[in-house]
Assembly symmetry: C2
Homo-oligomer: 210 residues x 2
């Protein structure tokens, strides 16, 4: 699985100024680095401005608040999960293998954030709690990835076709939460996660049998 | 479904003094009332002592800390969920109906805690985060309830018998989390919860078909 180069997302709620301005990108990269190292709460807009050699007022030309910068970093962090996830969902493997890979990818990326990038994990916990738009979009993308795979599996004859596709996609998406939700990952024994994830994906695949 | 009278649990980690002492029961009831009204964080051991007309030192003869009292209240709160849950699991209905009822019961009780008893919901959030023993026991009981129902459904011929029972029980238990975990309930749109819960229980029942 090759990790896609993180892309700078398009402007969001609370972001100002010329869309393609390279300063905007620079601010987001500085924020990503600062949040990764010091955490979202401990970083101020003044810290970010200082890091790239501009005034706070200048930063505010691009983002109306620290949260707006946080949302951009969160969107970039989730894009690192979502890009390969959509690659898996549209890949050449069987639908069965793709569904297994989706569960594994979501769990492994969730754990990577939690163990290797704890400070970015913190911002995602806040973002999920406060339903920031990048999180809602991430959830929507998981649902779309699952729907794509299930639809392909119906076409190929791997999966049953009687149950409404929307109902199945929604249910499967819910069953990824115990292995992908940042707060649940914090609370679980990592040794149990893998076995639980495999057990759930097996259960779901038995459910999809024609 | 009749709600069982909450029972005072047996002494736990951090609790002292004669087991059956009625003062112990009185402290737990006062704490339940105080935590429900003012929240766990804002209640002190001195508040509880005052409410029942004894000294703080006297309370410490029974509980070594406020958290020990919190654990007892948490155990009582969860017992209100677990008692009827085990009644459902061992009831006369078909295994299929019992499994549906388990999902519904866990979701409705989780929402009742969150909406009607917000202050007790707070203590459960802390208890889940910090893995207090009553929470671990509650999770173990959910697993046992699920295992019982699945085993009965295998005996009655409602469910398949090929997959290891432990694996199935574990997977089903994980799929209740999106509708029963206190933090996830906080973050979801109540209107979506019901439909999601029904979709997941349908998915699981298709998976159990012989």
């Amino acid at each position: 699985m090759n990790i896609m180069e993180p892309t700078i997302p398009t402007p969001e709620r609370g972001q100002r100024g010329p869309v393609e301005h390279e300063r905007r990108e620079q601010i987001i990269r500085a924020a990503d680095e600062h949040f990764s190292r010091y955490g979202y709460n401990k970083t101020t807009v003044a810290d970010l401005a200082k890091a790239i050699g501009v005034s706070s007022a200048y930063v505010y030309r691009f983002f109306e608040s620290k949260q707006a910068i946080g949302e951009a970093v969160c969107a970039m962090t989730l894009a690192r999960i979502d890009g390969p996830m959509m690659e898996i969902a549209t890949g050449p493997q069987s639908a069965t293998d793709r569904l297994r890979s989706l569960y594994r990818w979501l769990m492994e990326e969730g754990m990577r954030l939690f163990f290797d990038e704890r400070k970015l994990h913190e911002i995602v916990v806040v973002a999920v709690r406060d339903r920031w738009p990048p999180v809602l979009r991430h959830k929507q993308l998981i649902l779309e990835a699952v729907r794509l795979v299930v639809a392909d599996g119906r076409t190929s004859g791997e999966f049953e076709r009687k149950t409404p596709l929307d109902e199945v996609a929604r249910a499967i998406t819910a069953t990824t939460e115990p292995f992908a939700h940042p707060v649940l990952l914090e609370q679980k024994d990592p040794a149990d996660l893998e076995a639980g994830m495999v057990a759930v994906s097996n259960l779901v695949l038995r459910s999809l049998a024609p």
